[in-house]
Symmetry: C2
Subunit: 92 residues, 2 copies
Amino acid sequence: MKHNSYFEGKVQSLAITTTAGPATVGVIEPGKYSFGTDCEEHMHVVAGTLAAKLPGGEWQSYGQGQFFVVPPHVKFEVEAAGDVAYLCYYKR
Amino acid sequence: MKHNSYFEGKVQSLAITTTAGPATVGVIEPGKYSFGTDCEEHMHVVAGTLAAKLPGGEWQSYGQGQFFVVPPHVKFEVEAAGDVAYLCYYKR
C-alpha cells in the first residue's frame, strides 16, 4: 500500500481502494497547510476538527463526521489546532 | 507522527491524539490477520467491511460507521475481503 508523507511528515496518508473509488486515510498534525487538487475531492473528517478555506469562500470548521467538497484544479487551505484524521475520496 | 507497518506492509497505521485519547487510523488490505491487545480497543470501520472474531465469539461483519470493542490482553482475528480503513481508539 502507498504511504505518502507531506510537509516534513506533519501530514501523512495511506492509499485505499473503496467501493466509492480511490481514497486516502490520513492524519494532519497541528498547523496550516495549502493543498492543490487534480480532481474533485470529498474530504471527510474522521476525528478532530479541521478548518478549511476553499477558493472564494470563508474559513469554515468541520468536525467529526462532516465533509467538504473541493473542486478540481484549485488550491485550498486547511488549518488544524489538534490532530485530525481524515478520509479523502478522489472523484476522477 | 508514528507510522506503523505490520504483516509485510499489508496493515499500516498512523498515530493520532484525539479528545477521546490515543488512536490510530489505518488500512487493512485483503487478508486474514491475528492481533493482540494490550489495552481495551474500540475499532471503528471508516470505509469497507471488516469481519472480526473476538475470543469466545463468532465471526461478525462490521461495515462503515460500525465498531466493535476488544478487551485488553486478548488475541482476536480479522478478515478483510477488500481494503478497509479503520480508526482504533486505545482505552488505557
